[in-house]
């Protein structure tokens, strides 16, 4: 059943996803640099926001998928779920690193400092660290099923940090702007073109995320197939003496 779904999905993912992600990303770049107007107070540097926010959402999506797949792996013990979790963490880490790289670049001209231990920023660093530990565990543990289960528990627990990041601005009154939930007239996206650009970038990042997740999942599947083949050749060799 799963194999049949995969074989139908593979040509679609191999051909359509890269083309769709590239087209959407080029459109998003056009919107960010040529279509959307400058923000009144921040000027051109506000254009970082469209990719910064979408990178954050993609990271949350990656870690969310990893947590769900890890929970399924702990429950059913199926290798496909573990593989999906690992692929989602790797892709989620890429986007989380983008968030942590672009945030300070925006903060320097706006806040006058590269970094501050604001609650949202601190929680994001904690999130990055949790999933970095997950990847280190997977690298060190290799095929050890015990380590795979520990890592799965970490992925499930780690996702609890995401809702904290979401509410941290309001809960602890941090410096980080909450553009999308700002009350009317107090900032946020004043021009409709800003919201359109954000939506185009959202689609572009969603497609890029799916493509990278697919590539990494298939890579891990191929690695498992190679290992299985090695074991079978080894067993055959021993049987022949």
């Amino acid at each position: 059943m799963a194999l049949a779904i995969r074989s139908r999905l593979a040509p679609l993912a191999d051909r359509i996803l890269p083309a769709a992600a590239t087209t959407a990303m080029l459109t998003a770049l056009w919107c960010v640099f040529l279509y959307v107007p400058n923000e009144r107070m921040q000027g051109a540097v506000q254009r970082i926001f469209y990719f910064h926010v979408n990178a954050a959402w993609s990271a949350f999506l990656g870690f969310g998928i990893a947590a769900a797949a890890s929970a399924l792996f702990l429950w059913r013990g199926r290798i496909e779920h573990d593989r999906l979790a690992q692929a989602a963490v790797e892709v989620g880490m890429l986007f989380c690193t983008m968030v942590l790289a672009t945030g300070p670049i925006w903060a320097r001209p706006i806040w006058g400092t590269w970094w501050t231990w604001d609650p949202r920023l601190t929680m994001t660093v904690i999130l990055w660290t949790i999933y970095a530990v997950y990847l280190v565990l997977r690298m060190v543990g290799r095929d050890d099923p015990e380590i795979a289960r520990y890592a799965a528990v970490l992925a499930v627990v780690g996702i609890l940090d995401v809702p904290l990041i979401m509410v941290s601005v309001r809960l602890w009154r941090g410096m980080h702007p909450s553009v999308l939930t700002a009350p009317e007239g107090t900032g946020g996206l004043q021009d409709p073109r800003m919201m359109r650009t954000l939506l185009v970038a959202f689609v572009a990042f969603a497609l890029l995320f799916l493509w990278l997740l697919w590539l990494r999942y298939e890579g891990l599947r191929l690695r498992d197939d190679v290992r299985e083949l090695e074991l079978r050749i080894g067993a055959r060799h021993e049987a022949r003496g």
Binding site: I105, L212, L222, R232
Partner: protein, 65 residues
């Protein structure tokens, strides 16, 4: 801060995004090529042993990663 300075920050942020994405894709490509090499070696070892070894579960070298 003057506008040209701010453009430099905008440029740096987008450069960082594309650099990270490029590094990720390069690493993915290297891993894929290493696996393909390993798979070719295994397939040639299977072929050397002659008939009787069932390698139907093994993926072909062209499999995506």
């Amino acid at each position: 801060m003057t506008p040209p300075d701010r453009f430099w920050f905008l440029f740096s942020a987008y450069a960082a995004i594309w650099l990270l994405l490029a590094l990720f894709l390069v690493r993915l490509g290297r891993r894929h090529r290493a696996l393909e090499r390993e798979l070719r070696e295994l397939e040639s070892r299977v072929a050397d042993r002659g008939p009787g070894f069932d390698s139907t579960a093994a993926p072909s070298v062209g499999t995506r990663a």
